[in-house]
Amino acid sequence: MTSRTIILIPAYNEGQSITQVIERLRQVVPHYDRVIINDGSSDHTAQVVRTLGERLLHLPCNLGYGLALQTGMKYALLRGYETIVTLDADGQHQPEDVPLLVQALEAKRADMVIGSRYCGGRPYIGPFSRTAGQRLFSHLTRLLIGRRIYDTSSGFKAMRASVCRTIVDRTFMDLHTETIVRLSLLGFVIEEVPVTVQERQHGQSMHSWVSIFRYPLMTLMLTLVAAMDVWLRKRE
């Protein structure tokens, strides 16, 4: 192990974009370790990652985004990494922003830093269904933790190992609103840093039309469950 920081990249059918993401990370942050989590892809993602000589966590079946990330966290904790960065494999996040997030952990004395598309007064952009959900969950964070988190669904985050240890055994999570609320209520410091996000160049988003209904309902329920769970634990 050469670094105390590891970048986790969950990938599901990202065979077309993963090469570019890895090459840019190699150029921009060569001193950080990387591991790609192949979440049971049906395309050639695993083959591409192996050809590039990258470390691969190969899940034999598709577990979904949250559990794929959780796998990476388990590996990172076993290997003793102190800082864990999560980055999407579709090329939307800029590797240049990785050091920004890691530095912000120290500078802001935070436990988790979210690479945010919307903080700092930037408008919500995208289809109504998506922006409505993002606004809803953003306001929900204010209601539950007393502070608004603008980009609750960002997959670009940096966090300390202590945060991973807290959430690594949670079975149902997407590392979005429900995790932010849980961590905040447990006393972890969460900050947002503005980052640039590009539109995906290849492949399809993991959000299908079914998830337009399923995702908000599930996230809402899990967020309330998280808040209830922390409240009950504090009373014990």
Binding site: L56, L59, T71, L78
Partner: protein, 118 residues
Amino acid sequence: MSLQGILLIDFLGLLFCVLILNLVRTHKLQGVYGVIWLGATFSFMLLISIPWLLALVTRLVGATYPASAMSLLAFAFLFAMFIFFSVQLSALSTRQAQIAQAIAVANLLVEDDKGLRE
């Protein structure tokens, strides 16, 4: 209920019990589920075969007709079973995910160690 109706339902109930026992015997149904289904079948057979018991249950659940009381009980039982199966499915999915994660992590740890040795 007429004697003919009671005999028919008891006969169907017994057939159902034989089917459940055979499923357990052939390892297609776990014992714990077999006991639940056998218990429910015997309870319904008992209710139908003893008129005063059915009348008592009908009064207890606030139904006007015995058939309504039976439907209510059957619905409640099936609802409880659906929740029970959802919990079982969730537990299985969790176990499957944990196994998949353990395999993935173990494989990479082995690869890491190989890489260090080479």
